[in-house]
Amino acid sequence: MIPAEFDYQCPSSVDEAIRMLADAGEDAKVLAGGQSLIPVLRMRLAAPSVLIDLSALTELTGVRDDGDSLLIGAMTTHYEVQRDHLVHEHARLLFAATNTVADPQVRHRGTFGGSLAHADPAGDLLAPVLALDAVMIIAGPNGRREVPAAEFFVDYFTTALAPDELLLDVRVPKCSGWGAHYEKLNRVAQAWSIVAVAAAVQVSGGAITQARVGLTNMGSTPVRARAVEDALVGQPATPEAINAAAERAAEGTSVGDDYKENLARVLCGRALTSAVTA
């Protein structure tokens, strides 16, 4: 299938991109890696009049060390994230989840920021970003602002981004030395997650000192499994403690599907088990 006609603009700076967005109005779409957008255009599920391609904005590419955090440029590809030593060292959870995104070809083109702005709750990067308390750095006509992940994801395919705003970077607090795992269940390798669980834990002296758990595809946004986190902190890193905590994984979700709730609990247990041994 073939996309409907559109105009194409390729800004060379963030400011120019924002001007173009403002000029184009609500009928513009931002093209990052295009790995979700182009199939959507081909299926004619969307027909924007203008496409604004960010590929020339090299300043949005790459991972930088920013003290207590990593700054990940929105246009950094999944492939680059997978191979970035800072991500390996300080954000294992992101690394683990990125490895499971789509397939190698898509990971070569698809971008970190594009996935987050697309905001499909079945996407694999949202739950880790939420769990890690990442912050979105956004630019718009009135300057820059920062939005915590918990406020960024609003609904299916809906974020806190205004139509004339761009996601520039994501600040991901370092979790150096934490164990992390992304446990995903899907029907075939390429398929989206039925449910997945992102878990990162800090273990000290045999006890869990911090825990972060996010759920993929358990609602219209990624979901933070706070009950699990609360149940884990201060507990010994034992199978009993993990399983007891994992039993609470579906608390606060509202999918109304006993199978998915079961998966949340089972996969949470497995994610945590792998995380504490990772």
């Binding site: 295009g34 391609d53 070809q105 070569h108």
Partner: protein, 176 residues
């Protein structure tokens, strides 16, 4: 919109509609029909080519996004009548039947081997998860990729594709 793209070692300069998919540019404009379209949703991988040395699905890239980049297709692999080792291995291991998925499989296999010069069975299968084949059950494809990796040691990669003989490349205006 005007684009300039290096395809299989030849520079092409063309006017294209912004919405034209890279795969259609290759097929319809340049006559590079070796790269095929199998689906609408980037699942089948039949259209896989290399963009600056990395595998991409040319049905999910706009031709305008390829502006200024290097594209390698299945038609640009053989050099001076000599097949690429992955092409040889696909033949030697009966890794194709109808052959429709084959160009994409071969292009992805080259990428896979570049990242992992001696992949085990699982690594090959995982590396090909974005390419569908309906004929072979993948068994001989997996064998072929491992055989190719063996043939190619110490490794293939973007360098293996770089056109050695710059003289072969010439400037073409209006690829039609």
């Amino acid at each position: 919109m005007h684009i300039s793209v290096n395809v299989d070692g030849v520079r092409h300069a063309d006017e294209v509609e912004p919405r034209m998919l890279l795969v259609h540019y290759l097929r319809e404009r340049l006559g590079k029909t070796g790269t095929v379209v199998g689906c609408d949703t980037s699942n089948c991988g039949a259209c896989t080519v290399h963009l600056d040395g990395h595998s991409v699905k040319s049905c999910s890239v706009l031709a305008v996004q390829a502006n200024g980049h290097d594209i390698t297709t299945i038609e640009g692999l053989a050099r001076d009548g000599k097949l690429h080792p992955v092409q040889e291995a696909f033949h030697a291991n009966h890794a194709l039947q109808c052959g429709f998925c084959t160009p994409g499989m071969i292009m992805q296999a080259i990428d896979l081997i570049a990242d992992d010069p001696s992949p085990d069975d699982e690594a090959v299968r995982k590396g090909l998860e974005g390419n569908l084949c309906r004929c072979t059950g993948y068994q001989n494809i997996v064998r072929a990729v491992q055989d190719a990796a063996h043939r190619m040691r110490p490794g293939a990669g973007p360098d293996a594709e770089r056109v050695q003989d710059e003289a072969r490349a010439h400037h073409v205006v209006g690829g039609e």
